[in-house]
Subunit: 217 residues, 2 copies
């Protein structure tokens, strides 16, 4: 088995991707799945699937396929998603609202337990999920009190660092940052920056490659 | 120079990441940037920066650094973001609303030119950016008429395929799909799926690796 920390992030993200159709197979009582099928459903090639899984040991039977339930359990164990993770979110604009309502998060075992905004005028507003928005000054006490695992920042850029400082004070060790700015963090906290426009760049690049020199319409 | 299509997606996404601080350097008249500085600002290691740029030829001077303006221009040319791309979006819930208002998209040269929703009761509603929401039945004619380059799907899962079919009819060649479902597409259309919960899985994995066996609080 490879040392966990040596496994590249793209592999980890693909393992998470593989777990999605696997979950559907398990729910529909399909016992066996081939690397070809899994690859097709995830939009990668079968050799990539086999290579990614090989990091973690021996899976599946050559010419037969993978035991869907066993593989799903293993992937969840590897990723650490075999238990529930609690989340607090700071920044209840449109993006914050959409994440709190996101079905995928709930399905994967993530549970929003607190929502904050730096604009105290939003405090008290009730969300469809049942949570009420709290003022950001409540973060340190509330987040510690609830023992929250992860933080998500969906504030405007100019407020992101302040939101992050409040989460550090609350002893949060992992943050997903959707704001358009990099956040400075102490060593004990892992920040994962998500820039949604990067995905567009990837798409544009592949379009340019495919249609270079051809009229696109 | 490597063949464009052989360059891995993670490299393309990192090139897009590098362009962000480079843009700031150019705007603040900083002429030279080292791979170390660029790496630090993007949260990757310097060797990775040098390796990614090497795919596309010779950049920079050993021991000195990169000419920020030249490197930015080259990256934009490689990615195809040296011109404006027009976008239409289908699904004006919270996520759709947040993307239309996203400053990063505008800064990178993406311009929303039409917004649609499958719920015709939303039609006519005016967005902060000035666009009015249109009913989805307008997609084929409007999108062709405006010569839109890219589509974004932010509908609920059950409506994603229908949204995609309308975009295919409008001759859209590239789609960013934020819905929680995979979309079936003809060969001539590139679909890039974005599952935001995958980013959480990556974060959780790294937290588990870092704090394995240690009490996290």
């Amino acid at each position: 088995m490879t040392k966990r920390s040596k496994i590249p992030s793209p592999t980890i993200e693909r393992l998470a991707l593989y777990s999605r159709p696997l979950q559907s197979f398990v729910e529909s009582d399909t016992p066996i799945v081939s690397s070809e099928k899994l690859a097709e459903l995830c939009g990668v090639n079968p050799a990539q699937v086999r290579k990614d899984l090989a990091y973690f040991g021996e899976f599946g039977v050559r010419g037969v396929g993978y035991d869907a339930q066993e593989l799903l359990r293993e992937i969840k164990r590897i990723l650490g998603t075999d238990r529930e993770w609690t989340i607090c979110i700071v920044g209840m604009g449109n993006l914050g609202m959409s994440l709190v309502e996101n079905d995928n998060f709930r399905k994967r075992g993530y549970r929003f337990v607190a929502a904050f905004d730096l604009d105290s005028r939003k405090a008290g507003r009730r969300l469809p999920c049942g949570l009420a928005i709290q003022p950001a000054c409540n973060i340190p006490e509330q987040v510690r009190g609830l023992g929250v695992d992860l933080g998500i920042i969906t504030t405007p850029s100019r407020e992101a660092q302040r939101a992050a400082e409040l989460l550090f004070k609350a002893n949060i060790k992992g943050i997903l940052n959707f704001s358009a700015t990099q956040v400075r963090a102490p060593e004990c906290c892992i920040i994962e920056n998500v820039d949604l426009s990067v995905k567009l760049e990837n798409l544009v690049y592949h379009l340019e490659t495919l249609y270079k020199g051809m009229p696109m319409k």
